[in-house]
């Protein structure tokens, strides 16, 4: 864990304050980071099937002397931009575009960086009509076959299957004030209580902060944000993210692809191993 003076577990914020920070309207979004990490970034578009999803930015840039594929959920800053980016909620075209470019990266040996920042996949009729469930399912399965290193970072909201569809990686790290959850607090409240106004209670039950996920063994590291939060210092937030991403990617670059894929499989296959260790869970694999 990075310790720049202050440790991320030393927080005085409530769970709901963390949720609000993760969704802060001035928080740096994927392109804010990508343009700072790789100033020569070239955006690539389209799933080559039917469309381009503006909720996912993707492209190549030089990072630490190496061509790297960057993929990230993209939210908008102004109202017009937010609408155009669909609040960072991907349609099926987005997951298909991500897979196309993941295979593209593997073809040329580019490592992949995924930045996760989405409330979830788009919960609308059009997404359903064009097969959002199968698009996410296929993406999750295919990520396990991409023969180059992948490091994912949750930079804001990691919402549900929409986030996991971009979150199968060799290492997953989280910014300090980001969240990652089975469902947004509003959706969980709506499912459990049929009342989405009980979002604060739901957030507290869900254990969705970066510290909770680190404790559960779901992510490798929590990256300490600049004092007060990433929204106060874009350059500082990029520096700590850059350092952590690079540190995690470095050892992966030397690994043979078969070994990389085997470890990626095991990372998720035994991700609940802390629970396996509990006596109630029954015998380990026979």
């Amino acid at each position: 864990m990075t310790t720049h003076g202050r440790r991320p577990e030393e927080t005085t914020l409530t769970v709901w304050q963390v949720v609000e920070l993760a969704r802060h309207p001035n928080r740096p979004y994927s392109l804010d980071y990508i343009r700072r990490l790789a100033p020569d970034f070239i955006e690539l578009h389209g799933d080559r099937l039917s469309g381009d999803d503006p909720a996912l930015v993707a492209g190549v840039g030089t990072w630490h002397g190496r061509t790297t594929m960057f993929l990230g959920h993209q939210k908008g800053r102004s109202l017009k931009e937010r609408v155009a980016r669909n609040w960072g909620m991907m349609h099926p075209e987005g997951y298909r575009k991500a897979l196309r470019l993941a295979h593209h990266a593997a073809k040329f040996g580019f490592p992949i960086i995924c930045l996760i920042d989405t409330p979830g996949a788009y919960p609308g009729a059009g997404a359903e009509e064009r097969g959002i469930a199968a698009a996410i399912a296929r993406a999750i399965m295919e990520w396990f076959r991409v023969r180059v290193p992948i490091v994912a970072a949750v930079i804001g909201e990691g919402g549900s299957g929409g986030a996991l569809g971009m979150g199968v990686a060799d290492r997953v790290i989280m910014l300090e004030n980001s969240i990652y959850s089975v469902a947004s607090p509003e959706a969980a409240a709506s499912i459990v209580w049929r009342d989405n106004s009980r979002k604060v209670e739901a957030a507290e039950q869900l254990q969705l902060t970066s510290r909770d996920l680190l404790a559960m063994g779901v992510v490798e590291e929590v990256v300490t944000e600049p004092e007060g939060g990433a929204h106060l210092d874009f350059d500082g937030a990029t520096r700590v993210l850059d350092e952590a991403l690079h540190r995690h990617l470095q050892p992966l670059l030397a690994q043979p692809a078969d070994e990389l894929l085997q470890h990626r499989y095991e990372r998720f296959r035994y991700i609940d191993s802390l629970v396996h260790a509990e006596p109630h869970f029954g015998p380990k694999i026979d």
Partner: protein, 275 residues
């Protein structure tokens, strides 16, 4: 599509289906129900209405009588997030266990028309058939063993998605299970998925729609986001039949919509064609 004579000797169910709670009249056609007749027809009304059945009934339906060998039934869930409201999670799962239900997914081996298969069935009665750590573990172990042994894998899904009360670890089951689907696929082991009412969320967006042949039951609701949430989020008016099995067939997500009364014959026939 099917050659009915090829499996004319095969009964529509492997064994006797257990009784299920039924209304007095069919919600599909309004006709009064004869429980014994319905049970012999695998709980499908003459009008085509398919009643939801649990894991025990699915096992009795698919498996040849006496061939079912359950695996990992002793793997149990527990309350890892200390979930308290509206009801303690531990109390919920303890009560369901007392009612004789064993988690949202049961898995094991059996034969169908004499062919050995792996079978996994969801049970919607157990917290809405939600994908939990135990469910994911049983699914992944079964798929890994099917991939290693070459036995075809048959899945019957009925699920609301990932289980909220297990938090992000429930979400991670989608990745765990799909990694195993990838192994099954790479081993070129046939995978047949039967999607029943309802199949949504993290189950639809993980293994249920990734089979080599996707088979849906008539009228089953299948999708990612449920209609209530879509209406809340987008104020959209959803047309009748939105997310039905027939809707998914028209949009290319399932290979066929097949009545439960023909399912066993169909799967037996598929098992012959995909050695």
């Amino acid at each position: 599509m099917l050659n009915p004579r090829a499996h004319a000797e095969l009964p529509i169910a492997g064994g006797k289906l257990p009784p299920i709670p039924l209304p007095t009249n069919c919600p599909g056609c309004g006709v009064g129900l004869d429980v014994d007749v319905l049970r012999k027809r695998t709980y499908v009304c003459d009008c085509g209405h398919h009643f939801r059945i649990g894991a025990d009934a699915w096992i009795a339906l698919i498996a040849d009588r006496g061939s079912w060998k359950e695996r990992w039934g002793d793997v149990r869930s527990h309350d890892l997030l200390n979930w308290k409201v509206p009801k303690p999670y531990q109390a919920t799962i303890d009560q369901l266990a007392e009612e004789g239900l064993n988690e949202a997914v049961r898995t094991g081996t059996c034969t169908l028309g004499g062919r050995a298969i792996w079978l996994a069935v969801f049970d919607f009665r157990f917290v809405g058939g939600t994908l939990s750590i135990v469910a994911g573990e049983r699914l992944a172990r079964g798929m890994e063993q099917a991939a290693a042994s070459g036995l075809p894998y048959v899945l019957v899904s009925a699920s609301g998605g990932a289980r909220m009360q297990e938090g992000v670890l429930a979400l991670m089951q989608m990745a765990k299970v799909n990694a195993a689907v990838g192994r099954l696929d790479a081993a070129r082991v046939p995978f047949f998925s039967v999607l029943t009412d309802p199949t949504f969320g993290g189950t639809a967006a993980s293994l249920a729609l990734l089979a080599d042949v996707n088979i849906a039951e008539p009228g089953a609701a299948i999708g990612f986001t449920g209609p209530r949430v879509i209406k809340q989020a987008t104020y959209a008016d959803l047309p009748a039949g939105f997310q039905s099995a027939e809707f998914q067939l028209a949009r290319g997500q399932v290979d066929m919509v097949v009545s439960r009364t023909e399912l066993r014959l169909l799967v037996a026939h598929l098992l012959e064609m995909y050695p």
